[in-house]
């Protein structure tokens, strides 16, 4: 299912002027077409590469 970038843009502020939004939509559609197969192939249990550190007191440097 492809995204409706124009609809997403209606939900953000400050708004993006239409000519600039048109340019953004073109770029994002192309990026989405490359990303969608990767997203769909993700195993359910895969965690992000960037994870938040636990909030322990930091160790002192060695």
């Amino acid at each position: 299912m492809s995204r409706d970038w124009n609809l997403i843009a209606k939900g953000i502020a400050p708004e993006i002027p239409q000519p600039e939004l048109d340019n953004a939509v073109g770029v994002l559609q192309a990026l989405e077409s490359q990303f969608a197969p990767l997203r769909q192939s993700l195993p359910h249990e895969t965690e992000p590469a960037v994870i938040f550190p636990s909030f322990h007191a930091p160790e002192k440097p060695a």
Partner: protein, 460 residues
């Protein structure tokens, strides 16, 4: 003179730190009206520091190879009492009250900062065509871009204004200007050099490193700036190594991977020929060149772009109501990032984990990789596309061979490996496994000797 030669001359007494700084400042005055490599020049402060450096040396207090050497830092590094603009109108009057970790370490190593270098606005682009502080020009041809975003650092080093200038690299921003300007550029492993005090673009892709005239100078700089920093949560506790390659340097038996896919697709003939020649020279020096098939780099680039768009827009969220204060290209990228759903960002980070595991398999077969740094030499200022079998946006093309390495966090070194038919420099990228900076420096130093190109400097 490069950094190492200058350090030797200082200790022999044939030149003083004050003379070096004065000469550097004089070159800025003479060349910068053309090059636009600097945003701020700190002449008086630098001359005072140089006097102190001379006095310290005379008193036997030697801080090491950077002692008394004039250097520059990209205007993304916070400098106490010196304005730090990030190449942006937003920060045009920002004067930090503290130094970035890199600046602290350079100062403690005795380096003398002569100025803050110009850059692509907010480090978010590869042309260094800055609408607020001027277009940085390439010393090899003033009608060409320097690359970016560390374009001022590339220009200043190539023009011989300073032997070392610091840069930052989120998708190639050290290596691309190094390639286009004919300098060495080192992007260390993620976590090797502290990001503390650097105005962030993308917290999971930003890396800090030097641009220099030769590989050994980059190694000496890394010796000074690498190491754990409690103030940067991504800083590694892994011990630092001695990065300066031995003399003579040996690479016998090292396995150098030459990719059979992706990296030589859609690159200019002169670029491909120069990198392959470098591989042959490595072979003559005793290395084993191994053809390798690499996993899908285009996938790395896709998620690299997605992560960058998302994180950069989040970082700049506070300023997005000041649309007119951004250049058009940066504003467009920030708009794109604002529209990306959080689910896509998280999923890109999940794909990143999968690709990290997949790409790690390369190191079962080889010790490092040789690739071109950029697909072409420096494009013209104002050029919007590169045509290598079809038009491709300059930004996308210029980062095509570098961006993925930021996603992986691996170290990568760019060094000059030839010149094209127009006399413009070309870059070889040496990529290694995480925290193998010493290895890629060794290979780079061996290649630099074999290629024998460091004597060629631009005429200005």
């Amino acid at each position: 003179m490069n950094l190492q030669e200058t350090a030797k001359a200082l200790r022999k007494g044939s030149v003083s730190a004050l003379e070096l700084v004065t000469d550097s400042v004089r070159r800025i005055a003479a060349l910068d009206p053309k090059l636009k490599a600097f945003i701020t020049v700190t002449a008086e402060m630098a001359q005072n520091q140089a006097r102190q450096a001379d006095q310290d040396l005379a008193n036997g207090k030697d801080r090491g190879p950077l002692h008394g050497i004039p250097v520059a830092v990209k205007d993304v590094f916070c400098t106490q009492g010196i304005r730090t603009t990030c190449g942006s109108k937003l920060f045009a009057d920002y004067v930090p009250e503290y130094d970035a970790a890199v600046v602290e370490r350079l100062k403690s190593a005795g380096a003398v900062i002569v100025g803050k270098t110009n850059m692509h606005e907010l480090a978010y682009g590869v042309t260094s065509t800055n609408p607020h502080f001027g277009t940085v020009r390439n010393p090899w041809n003033l009608d060409r871009i320097t690359g970016g975003s560390s374009g001022g650092s590339g220009s200043a080093v190539a023009a011989g204004i300073v032997p070392m200038a610091m840069g930052s690299d989120t998708g190639g921003s050290i290596r691309i200007p190094a390639s286009f300007c004919g300098t060495v550029g080192l992007k260390p492993s993620f976590g090797r050099v502290s990001r503390y005090g650097v105005l962030p673009l993308d917290f999971s892709l930003d890396h800090m490193g030097p641009l220099t005239q030769c590989v050994r100078d980059a190694a000496l700089t890394l010796n000074a700036i690498a190491g754990f920093d409690l103030r940067d949560e991504t800083s590694s506790r892994r011990p630092v190594e001695a990065y300066l390659p031995p003399e003579p340097v040996a690479i016998q038996g090292l396995r150098i991977g030459l990719p059979e896919n992706f990296y030589f697709d859609r690159v200019s003939t002169s670029v491909a020929d120069s990198v392959r020649r470098a591989a042959r020279l490595a072979e003559e020096a005793g290395a084993i060149v191994v053809p390798v098939s690499v996993p899908d780099v285009a996938q790395l680039n896709t998620i690299g772009r997605l992560i960058l768009l998302s994180e950069a827009s989040a970082t700049m969220d506070h300023y997005l109501n000041r649309r007119e204060d951004f250049g058009a290209d940066v504003r467009a990228l920030l708009d794109q990032g604002r529209l990306i759903p959080a689910t896509d960002y998280i999923n890109a980070q999940r794909v990143r984990r999968m690709l990290l595991q997949e790409f790690q398999s390369i190191w079962k077969h080889v010790d490092c990789l040789f690739t071109p740094t950029t697909p072409t030499s420096a494009p013209r200022i104002g050029q919007s596309t590169i045509d290598l079998g079809g038009p491709e946006d300059v930004r996308i093309a210029s980062t095509r061979l570098t961006r993925g390495i930021n996603v992986l966090g691996w170290p990568a070194l760019s060094l000059p490996c030839g010149f094209d038919e127009e006399g413009l420099p070309l870059g070889l990228q040496i990529i290694g496994p995480s925290f193998q900076e010493a290895l890629i420096m060794r290979v780079g130093a061996a290649l630099e000797t074999a290629l024998n190109l460091t004597y060629r400097r631009p005429v200005l």
